[in-house]
Symmetry: C2
Subunit: 519 residues, 2 copies
């Protein structure tokens, strides 16, 4: 178990004792097993590269100033996690070995849900399951937007810019009103909440003067302890549409068909376009189709498609609105695909208020998404290359050709797809590996690294990334000698002179540890 850099064992022991004085002995976890339980569950890199010195699990935000005081005094870096379930990007592991995880899971109050105005106010430890149950138990007629697994933090996911598949699917954009603690223990409220009497803290995003909210996203400038997040009023009707597209070569026409629909909000939710293996992995394993070494050859993929009666590409989208609006939109979507994508098979499932809610497409948290980890057999892990690109057919094709050929060359089945925003695509190219297979894990890293480099050359920057690649991705943000990163680091040093909050997060290093920046 590593010590915090530059901290002697006796000093560290003293710090732990003081932390225990704040949160209680049982909530300071510093054994080997604790360290391991907080590290990267998917073991993308050797464990020692991401091993914490332990964890502190406070009971409330009120304990944070004292924890921060001790951390500043002993120079103990802290890695705040809300619930730490973002496994593809490193889970609860810290970027720098010897950082202590500050696990906010016990800050789990749902402080308010306002049904009339469509928002919730939550602490970091509130999971999608928790909020869903709360809405159910209180009969609150609001829908959540969810990522694939439901055990993560509502707040943490939004701060990290996670996505869901409703009109509220850009989760970061639904945040309104934050309570944040700075490294010196100062608590502030952003936006309208800066006025202590404000009635509009969770309603109006902008506030008066410069707006800080974005500065606390994917950030180590403060510890967010509460957020307002907008929830969608339950719709009157919905249609869930899935479309089979027969040929690999049709990606560009799919994207060019969807772009105007998405830009005009005819498709009003984030939509997805999934590759064959991505479709197959939700219900089956690779061994059912192919047992050879290396990536599945094209013939095997074609056989699999035939067996599964799927398309090459599968488009999933939903429309949620008043019923006549849904019908108008569905008609426009059908027409566009029939005209624009040859051989598209369109399947539509309609729901209206009063029908069984299970048919509505209302997002419901679950853990089924982890089925995909079984694709390769063995204990599975995955790491996601997640570049942003324009919703333009030729760009999607360029990215796909790069990603799929790179996957193939490194022995991985192309598992990926596109998340379709209003003016952007996020590609997620998911490397699934058997964690027990060193060779495969090494290949995953090499493949990922190549994708970052080659993607960057073509103008595809990442919107988030695994801990092990944060520096590389930050380094790509090279405009004017990394001016944006330099100014962010200057602010980091101002607000956190000892560099105790999340050193290295998203490539932002405090002065104290700046020599640890990777390449």
């Amino acid at each position: 178990m590593p010590l915090p850099p530059g901290v002697a064992e006796a000093q560290f022991a003293q710090a732990l004792k003081e932390f225990e004085g704040v949160v209680g002995a049982e909530w300071v976890r510093a054994s080997d097993i604790d360290a391991v339980s907080y590290t990267d569950a998917f073991q993308l890199v050797p464990a020692e590269e991401l091993l914490p010195a332990g964890a502190i699990v406070p009971a409330s935000a009120e304990q944070l100033p004292e924890i921060l005081r001790i951390a500043n005094h002993y120079k103990i870096p802290l890695w705040p996690v809300s619930r730490g379930k973002n496994l593809a990007y490193g889970g609860s592991a810290p970027r720098m070995p010897g950082t202590m995880v500050l696990d906010l899971i016990r800050l789990n109050r749902i402080i308010e849900v306002n049904e009339d105005l469509g928002y919730a106010v939550v602490e970091p430890g509130v999971s999608f399951f928790d909020l869903y149950d709360h809405l159910e138990q209180h009969g609150i007629d609001l829908w959540m937007s969810l990522p694939a697994p439901g055990w993560g933090s509502v707040m943490g996911n939004a701060l990290e810019r996670g996505v869901g598949y409703t009109p509220y699917g850009d989760h970061a954009s639904q945040l309104c009103g934050m309570q944040v603690m700075l490294a010196d223990g100062t608590q502030l409220r952003t936006g309208m909440g800066a006025m202590s009497t404000s009635l509009s803290t969770y309603l109006f995003r902008h506030g008066f003067g410069p707006s800080w909210d974005g500065m606390f996203m994917q950030s180590n400038l403060g510890i967010v302890t509460q957020v307002g997040i907008w929830l969608m009023p339950a719709p009157e009707a919905s249609a869930r549409i899935s479309i089979k597209v027969p040929e690999e070569s049709q990606l560009a026409e799919v994207v060019d068909t969807m772009r105007p629909l998405r830009l005009r909000n005819t498709i009003d939710s984030l939509a997805t376009v999934a590759s064959p293996v991505r479709q197959a992995a939700t219900t089956s394993q690779r061994s059912e189709y192919f047992t050879g070494k290396g990536a599945m050859p094209r013939d095997a993929v074609l056989d699999m498609i035939k067996t599964r009666k799927s398309g090459w590409w599968s488009v999933s989208l939903s429309v949620v609105e008043a019923e006549p609006v849904v019908e108008a939109r569905v008609a426009a979507i059908e027409k566009a695909f029939n005209e624009g994508v040859k051989g598209a098979e369109i399947n539509i499932r309609r729901w209206r208020r009063g029908d069984p809610i299970e048919q509505s497409g209302r997002p419901r948290p679950g853990l089924g998404a982890f089925q995909m980890l079984n694709w390769r057999g063995g204990p599975g892990g995955h790491v996601d290359f997640s570049p942003v690109l324009p919703p333009v057919g030729r760009d999607a094709r360029t990215l796909y050709e790069l990603a799929s050929s790179t996957f193939f060359r490194h022995g991985f089945d192309y598992f990926g797809g596109f998340i379709f925003g209003q003016r952007y695509l996020i590609n997620t190219s998911v490397l699934i590996y058997n964690k027990d297979d060193n060779e495969m894990t090494t290949a995953a890293r090499a493949c990922f690294n190549e994708l970052v480099v080659e993607g960057g050359k073509r103008g595809f920057g990442g919107y988030r990334t695994h801990l092990a690649f944060m520096d590389q991705m930050a380094n790509q943000n090279d405009y004017n000698d990394h001016a944006l990163l330099r100014v962010t680091e200057a602010v980091k040093d101002l607000l956190d002179p000892n560099g105790i909050i999340a050193p290295g997060k998203q490539g932002v290093w405090p002065a104290a540890y700046r020599d640890r920046r990777g390449t």
Copy 2:
């Protein structure tokens, strides 16, 4: 003409000479008439309180580093304005006398308009007229969103969080991708633009790591020299709906009827609810209805309403979408008002693609809004109290009763209304005065001051304000001893140690001039 604080005349003369060396002698304006022409056109406070030392009008962003170098050397504060036409909030005048206006009106390139992806990239000097003409001349099928007067800056208006009346009416939320120059001459790009090869600079708002965009809104932390701004694809159909509501007492039911429509996007654009005088002032003058002293009595307002055949409240909203969607929404809106607002008279004007564009409600820049300045006679000025409040009937009534009774007591006709966002209302209570009437101008200031204080007590914070009230409004943001303002000022001192960019803007003062903070 005031000198910059602490700068001797000879030093100032030397600085001007150096500025001339950069931009040319004709673009450094430092005569008395120049100073006056840049001060507050509406003369809300005595001219000397807002008088600049002159103005510098650079030709391009490339001249800024040298201008900033000189300004830092001689400690000459600069007040950047895009076009300086935001007259109700102080126009191009600086907050601190002796600041030089940095007039960016010549940075007027429309760098790109992307019709397929719905955005424009503009410099600060591009007006709504300019961009509108560009779209017209090139037959680009995108709609703009506009504030009332069209001579202002597209960029400046969005940075200051101005509004329009389309689905893109929250202009700040349409910004995506900024180019900014810091006080030390460092140029940076925010969001995806931080990667110099990025294809998604104007498409994906979030970027990698902390997001800076909000920090440059209503801000003095940098000089924004370029922005991407999203434009709406021209719709297939529209309906413009105006609704007369007979009684003053019906405000709460109007708001409570509209809230769910707005929250569900049944009304998909920013809508307005206008008071009787606000309606009347667009086409007539007060003297046609009332010639007495002080505020119009209630009887005179009722007579005016009768004469004009208007309602007490006038609701204006539009729906823009595909035709069947428009029809579905119009029906839902009609039903809600018929059920929720007794005596509501609903007028609907429909347009579909192919009909004359003038009937579409497509926003078109103009200057007609200034007609309202004639309401009181004499050379008119106005100042707007603009608090944010929840879209809840009882809150709207509380605000309205406060504002209208305060107006009345100070001798002003209540001219105001509500801008209806998705989860918020912005009230604009507009004090129109005769600039030549000292007594009336003094009363306007007193009335405004009272509204800020009493509004604050009731939880109504401002979303922007006139220069003369910036400190007062910033001071209301009192949470944890003004923690948010303190941290913003710490960043200000870090990025701009000499405090040369826009000292005092939105109450953010650099160390060099912090003793000038008002109350």
